[in-house]
Structure formats: C-alpha cells, structure tokens
C-alpha cells in the first residue's frame, strides 16, 4: 500500500513537473515572440523606376538593390501599438510609388517600443527617400536614380551605390563606400568617411566631426569637403591627378603630395593657411576648407 502511494506521489510529481515544463516553454516562447515583435513580409511588383519612401522613427533600415522588377519588404515592430502603413500607387498592377510609414497607434508609446526595423530589396532605377530620425540606415548594392537619407542621431552606411546620393545626419556618422554618381553628405557632429568613390561630384560637410577621404579622384570630378573644428584627411594614390584649393583659418595644413604651387590673383586671407596647387595634370578639382581643424593630404 505504501508503495502504491509512493508511486502515486511520484506519478503526480512527474505530471506536475511535465506541466511546469510545458508552461515554462510556452511562457518562454511567448516572451521570445514578444521580443521578436510583429513581423510582416510582402512583395510588390514594380515598374522599372519606382519611387519608394520609408518614414520611420527608430530602428534599423536596410535597403539592398536587386535585379528583379519587384520590391520586397520585411518589417517588424516591437510594440502592438506601432503599425506600419503601406500605400501603393496604383494599388493594382506594377507599383509606381510605395510609401512605408511607421506610426503610433498610442501616442504614449516611447523609446525602444517605437522601434520598427525594415529590410527592403529594391529594383534598379529606384528613387529612394528615407527618414529615420533615431535609427540607422544601411544601403547596399543600390543602382538607382536618387537616394535621400535623413537621420538625426542615426549612423548611415552606404556601399556600392550608383546614382545621386544625399545623406544628412545631425549627430550620426556617415560612411560612403564605393559610390559612383553624385554624393552629398552632411553632418554637424558626426564623422564623414568616403572610401573609393568614383563620383563626378562629391560634397561633404561637418562642423565638429572628422572627414576622411580614402581613394582616387576621378578625371573631371569635383570634390568639396568642409569642416569647422574637425580634421580633414585625404589619403590618395600617387597617381591621383587633381587641382587643390585648401584653406584653413586657424588650423594647420599638412601636405605630403608633390604639388605645383599656383599663385592666384585674389588676395588670400592674411591669417589663413592656404594652399593652391596642382598634382600631376590637375584633372580633378579638390576644395578643402576648415576653420580650426587640420587639413592633411597624404599619399596612400
């Protein structure tokens, strides 16, 4: 009898243990699912040069180019009080415009709960516009018409880009790697980093961040980099052919490239450091300005 009771107790224990385990797994799954958020994925047929806009608050946005005449989007939100609006124009047939916008169903949702992450694959020739004030943006292998990216504090990384790129982040760092076409990058406190651009026109400006340019200058290209207190550093190959206009008010000018110094007719600023010269045949135009930061031109 005692044995039976003992066995009964054991059985009950096992059952309870099993139930507890199941409950634990369920709770854990629920937690994980909640942590993962609500995920959606869609594919839209698109015309050759669609216009895509993404308006987000915080989260990661990743955009990649692909060779299909489709727009593939996957997005996930952290909170059930956050929704992604999708507007497709026209709603039937290949899309001409697609707008994605994250909005709050509850105005009290704040912080990380506002997070929405996007991943998009877009066709060649896309015109792209992204606003992600508190989140980061990454664009890869994009062959488009126009891309405009704006953030306040988020970092922006663009690589293997073709087209006209406009990037602005007030406090975030901006990295542009292997871009061709036209590039404009602006920040106030963030750093700018350009790697191997093959652009015809490049503009970069930051107030207190650093600017680092690594690469060659295209023949006929126009490069303008401006900093206030941060340093500007150019690392270019010995074969780079450019005409240089470099000016700084209170900063230093350090040049390692052999230059043919040119004397200009205009009166230079008396207290400024400036350098006007040509390296090799001067095929590209490079304009560097700083107020108190150091300007360095070095050979890679």
């Amino acid at each position: 009898m005692a044995d039976c009771r003992e066995q009964e107790t054991k059985k009950r224990g096992i059952v309870l243990y099993g139930q507890g385990l199941v409950l634990y797994v369920l709770v854990l799954s629920g937690t994980l699912l909640a942590a993962e958020g609500n995920r959606s994925e869609r594919i839209f047929e698109a015309i050759p040069n669609p216009r895509i806009t993404v308006t987000n608050m915080t989260g990661q946005i990743l955009v990649r180019g692909w060779d299909k005449a489709q727009v593939h989007v996957a997005y996930s939100v952290m909170s059930p009080h956050v929704e992604v609006d999708t507007e497709v124009v026209p709603p039937n047939g290949p899309a001409d415009k697609i707008h994605f916008a994250t909005h709050l169903l509850d105005p009290l949702v704040s912080g990380k709960d506002q997070t929405a992450d996007y991943s998009l694959d877009v066709p060649t020739g896309t015109c792209l516009e992204i606003r992600n004030p508190q989140g980061s943006v990454r664009i890869e292998k994009f062959q488009g018409d126009d891309a405009s990216v704006e953030s306040v504090g988020g970092a922006i990384l663009v690589s293997d880009f073709t087209g006209h790129l406009f990037v602005r982040s007030i406090g975030g760092n901006i990295d542009v790697v292997r871009a061709s076409g036209r590039v404009e990058a602006y920040s106030i406190t963030g750093n700018l980093h350009f790697v191997s651009p093959t652009t015809s026109k490049l503009r970069g400006s930051t107030t207190s961040g650093r600017i680092l340019f690594e690469g060659d200058f295209q023949d006929g290209g126009d490069y303008s980099l401006q900093d206030y207190s941060g340093d500007i550093e150019i690392l270019c190959p010995s074969s780079a052919s450019f005409e240089l206009f470099a000016k700084t008010v209170r900063g230093k000018l350090q040049n390692e490239m052999p230059m043919t110094i040119r004397h200009r007719a205009a009166t230079p600023i008396s207290s400024a450091n400036s350098l006007f010269g040509t390296h090799l045949t001067g095929k590209a135009t490079v304009d560097l300005k700083s107020f108190s930061g150091t300007i360095r031109i070095r050979q890679r």
Binding site: L104, L105, D106, P107, L108, S110, G111, P133, Q134, E150, V152, G153, F166, R168, I170, G171, G172, E184, Y186, I188, T189, S205, T207, S208, S224, Q226, Y228, S229, F245, K247, V249, R250, R264, A266, T267, P268, I269, S270, S271, A272, T285, D287, K289, F291, S292
Partner: protein, 208 residues
C-alpha cells in the same frame, strides 16, 4: 477651358445651335453639381469612431494647467516665420556689399543644404537681427525640448553646443579681423546650420 479650347468652343457655339445647346446643358449641370447640398452622416459614425479610439487608448487626459498651456502650441507659429526671416537675413548678409577685397570662392558656401522649403532671398538685414531670430527659435526649442526623447535631445544639444562654439570663434575672428571672409562664411554657415537644427528639432517634436 484652357488654351485653344478656351477660344474655339465659345466661337463655335456662337454659330452652331446644337453645340450651343449642349454647352448650355453642361454648364447648367456643372452649376447644379457645385450647388449640391452636403449630406449629414448618421450619429452612429461618430459613435463608432469614438468607440474605436477609446478602446485603443488614443485619447489623453488633460492633467494640469501647464499641459493645457502647452497644447495651445502658441510657440509653434513663430517657427516658420522665424526660419524664413533668418534665411532672408542670411541671404542679405551674403549678398550685401563688403568693405574688404574680393575673395574668390571656389565652391558654394552652404554648409547644410536648404532641404527645407526656405530659400535665401536678397534682402537687407544685419547680424543682430539674425541672432534675434536664432534666439527666438532657440527659445521655442527650449520650451519643448522636454518632450523629445532623451537620446534625440542629446543629439540636438551636442550639435547646438558645437555650432555655438563655432559661432563664438568666428565672431571673435571677425572682431579681430573684419576682412576675414572665410570666418564670415563660416559664421553665416553656422547660423544657417543652427536654424536648420532648431527647425528640425521643432518640426520633429511637432510631427510626432
């Protein structure tokens, strides 16, 4: 009717009775369409809307006199006017004649592009007025910065600190060397960027 239609149709209608009748009919039709009365939806429409919004917890409760005051949004209206005035004054300073030798500029002056709708225009102003406009924007920003997310607020603050430092330095430079055009360029650029940063912060707060 525009273009050719605007002259051809009335001229033809004057001569062709049939077409004249059609034109008259269509005009009567259009006049009637404009005058169609507005219809009233049933009370159920609002009830449904309200029920859904309440269920979603969409409405906030007024808690204090200060909240009521903030909701009046009195500080919002000066922003676009102040921003425009600032850009106008900037434009005037850029285009105003200077007393020192011409300094060639090899590229555009703008530090941050005017991606807002405001464009600089030729107008007479002075830097004191510019400072005042920036100050107004700053006051509006300070009044509402509490409503910004902490990391966002920190980003804006850091950028403003950086810009203020550059404004101070450039102003010092110009006091010692009034003919320093690069310092002048940077000073105006810093003000322009400050306007853009403050506008961005105010726009962000308003647009949440």
């Amino acid at each position: 009717m525009e273009g050719e239609e605007g002259t051809f149709v009335p001229a033809h209608a004057a001569e062709c009775a049939f077409c004249r009748a059609i034109v008259a009919d269509l005009e009567a039709l259009r006049a009637a369409a404009v005058e169609l009365p507005l219809e009233e939806p049933s009370p159920a429409v609002w009830s449904q809307i309200r029920a859904q919004l309440v269920a979603a917890g969409a409405f906030t409760e007024k808690t204090s006199l200060w909240d009521w005051f903030r909701q009046l949004d009195l500080l919002r209206r000066p922003v676009p006017v102040a921003t425009f005035a600032c850009m106008v004054i900037l434009g005037s300073l850029l285009t105003a004649p200077r007393n020192y030798p011409e300094q060639e500029t090899t590229s555009a002056v703008t530090a941050l592009p005017a991606r807002t709708a405001v464009q600089s225009m030729a107008f007479v102003g002075d830097s004191a007025a510019l400072e005042q406009v920036v100050r107004q924007l700053e006051e509006a920003f300070r009044a509402r910065e509490g409503s910004l997310a902490p990391d966002l607020k920190a980003t804006y603050e850091n950028s403003l600190v950086s810009l203020d430092a550059s404004i101070r330095e450039c102003s010092d430079s110009l006091r010692r060397e009034p003919g320093n055009s690069l310092a002048h360029e940077y000073l105006l650029g810093a003000y322009s960027q400050k306007v853009e940063v403050l506008s961005s912060a105010l726009e962000f707060d308003a647009g949440r």
